[in-house]
Symmetry: C2
Subunit: 254 residues, 2 copies
Amino acid sequence: MKHILLTNDDGIDSAGLFALYKELKKLGEVTVVAPHIERSAVGHAITINDPIRVIEFNRPDKFHGYAISGTPADCVKIAVKKIMPKTPDIVVSGVNHGSNTATNVLYSGTVSAATEGVIMGVPAIASSLTSFDFKSDMSLAAAFTAKVANIVMEKKLPKDTFLNINIPPGTKDTVKGVQITRQGSGRYDEYFEQRVDLSGRAYYWLTGKKMNLDTEDDIDDVVVAKNKISITPIHIDMTNHRMLDELKKWEITL
Amino acid sequence: MKHILLTNDDGIDSAGLFALYKELKKLGEVTVVAPHIERSAVGHAITINDPIRVIEFNRPDKFHGYAISGTPADCVKIAVKKIMPKTPDIVVSGVNHGSNTATNVLYSGTVSAATEGVIMGVPAIASSLTSFDFKSDMSLAAAFTAKVANIVMEKKLPKDTFLNINIPPGTKDTVKGVQITRQGSGRYDEYFEQRVDLSGRAYYWLTGKKMNLDTEDDIDDVVVAKNKISITPIHIDMTNHRMLDELKKWEITL
């Protein structure tokens, strides 16, 4: 019997998580430990200066799970250390509403839960639907994510690596296959909109538009733009190994 | 005249930031934009669901700067987009109290500010003192960080890469030189301490002890343990390139 930890960053009551729960149930026992509210764009934040609350989530129409007053990384930590009787066979994070490609990998709470799995020595995958439409059908994305979860539990990933999956909305008939990809360099063209509060003081909202800067065939953003599923192996060693020799030549001294 | 953006995650009033400010002033114009309070372990979080406040920080004994109600990554974004008249020549983040080696690179707010610099196309360095003692002398760490900032502004880093510097406490006589390093795999052995609040409900604090799991000579943690300064080139492409061919052989289909 496989033990699966399911989490996300959209919050425990989100449609993507429930769709994935139903598919993962076919593979084994599923423990849901997810943020009690949306925690998008929290990066790999953990909660060290505030207490963490664990709230039981009892929904006969959905599942019994645990809502956490913390980040996705907190959810994985407390699930493994406190909630689950044994270390899970896999951490599955998603299905997120909205793509987590290119530099979004760095900002994403969804991806961060998989990162935390790997740090704790648990195989992990992160899954996102490349649509922000909350009415999007999650069936294909959920079924495909469960399929990959099953493959990862059978085959072994390098222990510092997880899979980051981005799935276009659609059906088996409209989505055009699967491709192994690299993380792109696309980022947001951002600005801060200035507003004035009821006391006359300024405040700012961050907003922006994603720029897809890549053109190569095997980049995550390029692949999903072609209506294909992108799978990128992500590792937690951020060293630029190719730069090491060059940097030694700089001969920096005290 | 060089334009330098200085930030951190310990907050605008911290000793490490002020020590670094004094050294960077010797190199050019320094704009300080930092969190108004400590924002440690926030990872690469950005604030998208709350307004951001910019509070002028006027301290004749220190400097004029800007305190931000956000994360280190927010500080870099709003500094470049809203506060500074032109894009800075470098983002310098630090000096942090406490090391940012191994998996701490993923959790660190200090490192995240440098990550955000690189995403925005600005060269960047992150600097940490490998001591949590708030009475530690920051002079050597600040002077060395400014030295590296100057080198980085002269020489070019790859555009997806910044330098992550960890400096042991001490003086030029006691610190044993500088080494180019790789990010280690050391992580925390963590647990959640359960307490009971005034209403009788449980809450948890995350705590733990760093485990240094590496032994190789060129790993950040190993180098700082030998009382040497560690410099690791970090890039924002998290793809595990070595895994791409293997993953293609898995032949995952829809």
